[in-house]
Structure formats: C-alpha cells, structure tokens
Amino acid sequence: MKRYNLIVVGAGPAGLCAGIEAAKRGMSVIVFDENEKPGGQLFKQIHKFFGSKEHKAKIRGFKIGEQLLKEAAATGVEVRLNATVTGLYPDKEIMVKHGDGMYHYKGDSIIIATGAAENMVPFENWTLPGVIGAGAAQTLMNLHGIKPGNRILMLGSGNVGLVVSFQLLQAGCEVAALVDAAPRIGGYGVHAAKVARTGVPFYLSHTIIKAEGTDHVTGVIIGEVDDHFKPIPGTEKQFDVDTICIAVGLSPMSQLLKMSGCTMEDNPRRGGEVPVVDEYGETSIPQLFAAGDVSGIEEASSAMIKGKMAGIRAAYELGFCKETETENSLEKCTADLDSLRQGMFAPGNKGKLIEKTEEGIPVSMNLLTKGFVADGEIIHFPGVTSQKGIHPVIECTQNIPCNPCQDACVKHCIKIGSHITSLPVVENPAPCTGCGLCVASCSGQAIFLVNENYEPGFASITMPYEFLPLPEKGDKGKGLGRDGKTVCDAEIIDVKSLPAFDHTNLVTMKVPAEFVMKARFFKAV
C-alpha cells in the first residue's frame, strides 16, 4: 500500500499551507481534493483580503490560491485533483476514488482540511428550483461564469451574505434586498456599506416567510420577526425575484473525522460538530490533525495559518525538524493568528453588541441595523476629515485587524500605527497627491478621494468602482448617498484603471459642493 509521510485531504487554503510547510521540512506530501480545481473557497473569493501584509492583505482570494499552488509545486507537494477521499479508516488509512477506480493510501500523519458547508434555513417552498446556497451562487458566477439568476433576494448578513451580494452585482444580477432575522448585520460594516450604497435595501429583523412559484421561484415574501424570531403578522413584504440565496452561516464538513473515531464535540461557538484538537490542530488520535474551517469556522486567512501550524507540528512529531526551529515557527504562527483574532469581530466578541470603538467613538448603529453609516455619525470617525485640496476620506468605522491603506500611501497621509485594529487616521493637512493607491488598496472599498473645492460650487469624489459597464468621462447621472438613494446630479470627470489597482477602477464624479459628504456612488441615468 502506497504510504506518504503526510496525506492532506482538501486543497483549500488550510490544506495547501499545511502541505507546503511539511514539504519544506522534507516530508513526502500528497494533497487530495474532490474538485476539478484546487484552492477550495479561495477560488470563489474575488474580493481583496483583509489583514496585514503577512496575511496577504489586499490580494484577491483567487490570486492567493494561485500563489499557494505555485508554492506547493515548488516545494514538491503532489496535488491530486478529482480525487474524492471516500473514507478515513483506523491506522490512518484512506480510500480515494480517482477516475473509475479506488486507491488505498496510508499516511504517517494525516491532516483533514475539508472546510465547511452552508447551513440551511427551511421556509415554505424552500425546495423550489431557484433557492440556492450562497456558495452555489459563488461557484456558478466565479468558477463557471454563469449568472445564478436575474433578480435575487439574499438571506443572511454575515460576511458571506454581504460579499456574495456584492459579487452578484458584479456579475450583472440585480439584488432585490438583503434580509436577516438578526437585529444587526453579522459581517463587516464596510462590506455592508459597499452593497447599501448601490441601492440594495437591508431588512434586518426580517426573515423569509415563503418562496412563491410552482415550478421554480417567481417571488418571495418576507416578514418582520419579534425577538423570539417569530414572524409578526401584517408585516409581510413581497418581492418579485427568480432566485433566493441562503447565507446563514457555515458548519464544518467533519464527516471524515467523525468516521475516524477521534473525539468530537458539538461546539456552537466553532460552528457545529468539530474534532477536539490541541492548539496545533492535533486530534485525540496521534498524528491525525484537523486544520481550517473543519475544526472551527473562521476566515480563510486564519485557515492558512492553522494549516501551517498543523504542517509544522506534523513534521516535528515525525522527526523532520528540530525543536527550536519548530518552536520559533509555531510561535510566529500563533502571533499571526492572535493578531487576526482581535478587534470587534474576534471570536470572543461573536454576537456581542460593542457600543464604542477602541478609540471611544460610539459605533454607527445605523450601519448595524440598515447597512450604512448615517450622515450624522460619519463625521466622528478619524478617517473622515474636511480639508482644502484633494485628500482621502476613509469611512472605516469598525476595529478590524487590517492595515493595507497605511502601507499603500507613499506620502504617509494615512496612519494606523502598530496596533493593527486601530481606525485609520488621515493627517491634517494631508500631503495627498490624489494618486488613488489607497482607494484601490482598501479591501472594504471604504476609501474615497475628495476635493471639496474642485471648482466653484462643485466638489469631486473619487470612488472605487468594480462594475461593468464602466462609466466614461462626461457621462451624466445621479450621485447616490450611502443609503443608495439619489441625492444629487453628478457628472463623470475621470476614470482611471491601472494594473496597480488590480481591477479596482477609480471613477471620479463632480457633484454640487454641498453634497461632498453625502454622495458616495454613481448611477448612470
């Protein structure tokens, strides 16, 4: 029977990183993945990642996937695709279906990195064609180039619900509404803001009552819920949609681990049935590890680090590297992981209402309940200043471990400092040259360049724009507020698309001066 020092199941962020670290230390490594393309979730994440430079911030998910694949090939990791691991048996043996045959393999150590899958919310007629998971929408759009539908209602305001809503708009679909039974959005405020300003209405404290249609979805009815999440009669609202997208959280796909007989627990804080693991991801069975979402739902960035730790630990336990080298690398990983697990969205703060930012500024309740920061609230944030001449306005209002904007500005107008979750501060006066690198670098698309006195009576606003058709200089249209409603007339005065911006086009519009702090999006008329 073919034996490897390390078998990894799942070629996503965690699996690839685990394989790379182990191969770097001399282990023979094979990574199996049932899909045609490796990279797991990464290849569906077309947005720029958060975090610091080490966390590969401001790089788009699928680009990170490509980098990992190159690195895996370079370090001699064998990646076997269309290879479904159908079973994990005692003595670290696996059965793999490849083509029309079955293959047995044994691993001195095994790392399971099979990720997570979507939770379900049943409602009347939820089995109609047209009701799909958010992951399904991403797969269809970003992997296969197919529009999941024409007019879509999104259920779920966590990061997945928000990001997929934005991606649906990018694919040319119309998002009729974003609905969540929770009173407050679950994901990053900046993700909600970039969806709200395009005009998508948010309905918090609402849930789906029923999908309409006989052969497939033709509409949907939502209703307000009380604090026991029970629908309140009389609050029903109807939308004509052909697709309903469900994004209500993820659960670990831990079937293989459960099959192996290692100790499992049902841990709601980690998303469901997960293996009991130590800090390196080792389960109750020696040399059997779990890394990434399968051992606890977090972002892809943390999955990569947890993958690394499992790979390093596996190498150490089988004698492929020395104690000191192992300790140093693992300490670095732990530090990286801890830096990600800070701020308002740290695991410890899950579901908690945080009233004030670290700086003591009251958080925008409007953002949490309607998806956009109200005009009266935005002025309190350090990234939002009024100055002469062109300068960045950073509408980043939550403490998130993320600092690409600080490094992007060559003139050092933007300061976050050593504490990565601090809100970005714009120098006053800002020696800004209007280069736009900060606008393009922001993963949350929350940075604008503003010139309050572009010309008498008019101001200019430069915004990140990732949609087609791209507006052209001279186009006339409307300026939309943060709530997506029309606030004023607007004219396009500049469109910049540079490779350095990595597909974030910089669109500048001219608006009447009094709307400089209101208009944040453009709609051609």
Partner: protein
C-alpha cells in the same frame, strides 16, 4: 427514579424491546436498561433484515416457524409502524456443486422439521428472479421466508412498549447481576441498583460478562459483520437472498435501496474496537461479490457501509432459556447474527415463560445448558 419492577430487561434491541412489549401487554411492570445512548444500536440496526426459516439450524426452526406463522403477519398493525415485512420467499444461491451439497443437507433437515423448502434448478431460479446471473447453478427455495425493516420494527416495539409504560433508561450500562438468597434479584449500574422478580439478559455479546458474573457460561464470542446499502433503485425483486456459505445476503427494501451483507474474510481478525467500524476493503470486496450475482447493479451507487458485532455462539444457535440454577434469571442471546427474524418470537415466548411458565413454541433445543464437549 423508578428502580423496582416486576421484570428488568437488559438490552434495548429487537429482543429486549419485544420482550418488554409482550410483558407489558400482559400487565407486567418492566424496566429496560440499555448501555449505549441509543435504542436498537447493536445488531438490531445493523443486520440484513432477513425474516427467514430456511438455512437455520434445525434447533431454531420450531421457534422461527412459530414466529413466521403467529407474529410477523400482523406485526405492522400491532405496532402501529410499517415493519415493511414482505413474505415473498428466500433464495439461498449456490454456484458450485459443493454449495448445492450444503444447501441440500440444510433443506433435508428443515423438511424434517416441517418446513416447506425445496431445491430448485438454475432455470427455476431465473424464473423467480430474472436479474440473477448465470453463475447460479441452483438454490434452495422457501416461499414462506421474507424480509423486513429491522430499524422500524425494533423502534416500533420500543414505541409500543413505551406507550404501555415500560420504563426505558439509555446510557445506563449494567455493571453486575446480584442474587439474594440464591434468587435473581438485583441489577447493579453505576448510578443505581435496580430490583425485580425476574431479570432477562438480552444484551447481545454484552450478555456474556453479566452471565459469567453469576456463573452462567454461554460459549460465544464477538465477531464483526459488515453491511452496505445502495441508493434507491426502481423496484426489481422481492425475495430475500442468501448464499450457501452466507458470504453474501440481502434484499431490496421498500424504499428501493438494496441492503447487502458480506465478508472480506478477515472479520474474525479485526482489531477489536468498542465501536465497530467498517474495514476499508469491505465495500469493494462485497461490490465485486454482488456484481457477480447481479450484473445489472454495477452502476448502483453505495451510499453507506457499516459494521456491527454479532454474538457468535459455539453451535451458532440462539439461547432462549430460563436459568434453572438461578430462579428469576432468563436469557435471550447468542443469536449469531441471525437474531432479527427470530427476535420477536423469542421475546413473545420469554414473556409467556416468565408469566405462565410455559411457551407456545418449543424452545427446549435452545436451553442454556445444551453445550456438550467434543468427546
């Protein structure tokens, strides 16, 4: 917490639950103690679902024939669940002359016990089940055999017994049996001591340590068996299937999926884990076996394979018996992997034995003290 009753039953499988049900039906107060967290989690939910007389050791035939006649026909109605019982016959297939020899001997013994079973030719087999391959050279055929759903049947007995007030405790492993003045009285668990007039040990292989503890030694050992189930297929045939060497058995369920049991040949040497797990080659090996008999099933997808332990008796015969040496102690175990079909009959007769001292079926050959040495 209720710790006393007329009867305590140890083990909540098909045997324990049916015994408890029939006792409760006769007005007895019953407590059932199940060691695992689940009702029917042992062999009762892992077997191939056969309700058959042919192929059994003649010692078991009286009880089994009685059961097929008196219990199975109206069991769904009685329990208020769909046992999916089908009495459409049992084909025990042979592919070699040696196989036919085995089948003929079994058939002759069964006929002596009054069972309507006969040997049939390859052509006749094809007439009954056209999907079988030409490898089959003959079979034994018993029209009154059949199959049922072991899951709904076991849980049906549990549901009905519970309705009649039987007190079930799961996650309650029994540590030891204890007699008082020579009579069976106490059942010791980690959390409580239970007391009753009669105690029935029906815990599969787990019966052995408890019985050994009171000096009753039934020679049996733990052997792994493995099964698998396919996706739903269009309805093809309704017979129960088996082979001369029991290397492959199964049927098509009402749902349309096929349940098959099989052997890799290494089950006896499996690493003895508390929780039986399927071996990596089992599904492949059994698929090869099945495809030889049913070429049409080559594209059928297997959705699940599982394993279980059987309480294999030295003579491969069930033990359903009063323990004379210890008044008040009864035993129903060592069913050797074919306990589902005969379970309800064993339960009924044990309930009769406890309440009236007599049994409608002849369970004399199944006594606990039947084991004689080789010489």
């Amino acid at each position: 917490m209720k710790t006393t009753a007329d009867v305590i039953v140890i083990g909540a499988g098909i045997v324990g639950c049916s015994t408890a049900y029939y006792l409760a039906k006769k007005g007895m107060s019953v407590i059932v103690l199940e060691g695992s967290n689940y009702i029917g989690n042992g062999g009762s939910s892992r077997n191939g679902g056969g309700v058959r007389q042919s192929g059994r050791n003649p010692k078991e035939l009286p009880l089994m024939i009685w059961g097929v006649k008196n219990i199975w026909p109206h069991l769904s109605e009685e329990l208020g669940v769909d046992t999916e019982y089908k009495q459409k016959g049992n084909l025990r297939l042979g592919k070699t002359d040696r196989h036919l020899g085995i089948l003929t001997k079994l058939t002759e013994n069964a006929v002596k016990c009054g069972l309507d079973v006969k040997m049939i030719s390859a052509a006749e087999v094809k007439g009954i089940n056209p999907y079988l391959s030409d490898e089959v050279v003959g079979a034994s055929w018993c029209a009154t055999d059949g199959h049922a759903n072991p899951l709904t049947t076991t849980l049906g007995f549990y549901k009905k017994a519970r309705e009649l007030g039987v007190q079930f405790y799961t996650d309650c492993p029994v540590v030891q049996l204890r007699t008082v003045c020579g009579t069976m009285r106490q059942v010791i668990t980690s959390e409580a001591v239970f007391e009753a007039e009669a105690v029935v040990v029906a815990a599969g292989f787990e019966s052995k340590p408890l019985l050994d503890g009171v000096g009753i030694n039934i020679p049996m050992r733990k052997v792994k068996l493995e099964c698998l189930v396919t996706e739903a297929e269009p309805q093809m045939f309704e017979q129960m299937l088996g082979t001369a060497e029991a290397d492959f058995y199964g049927h098509q369920t009402k749902h349309g999926s096929f349940v098959f049991g099989g052997h890799t040949g290494y089950e006896r040497y499996a690493i003895d884990y508390a929780n039986p797990s399927s071996s990596s080659s089992f599904a492949s090996c059994t698929s090869r076996g099945i495809m030889k008999y049913f070429p049409i099933l080559k594209d059928a997808k297997i959705v699940r394979a599982w394993a279980g332990f059987m309480d294999e008796c030295a003579d491969e015969v069930a033990t359903v018996s009063k323990i004379d040496e210890i008044p008040g102690l009864y035993v129903e175990c060592s069913f050797t992997g074919h306990g589902f079909g005969i379970g309800p009959a064993a339960g009924y007769n044990t309930a009769e034995l406890i309440t009236t001292g007599k049994t409608p079926a002849d369970i004399q050959p199944l006594r606990y003290d039947r084991f004689k040495t080789a010489m």
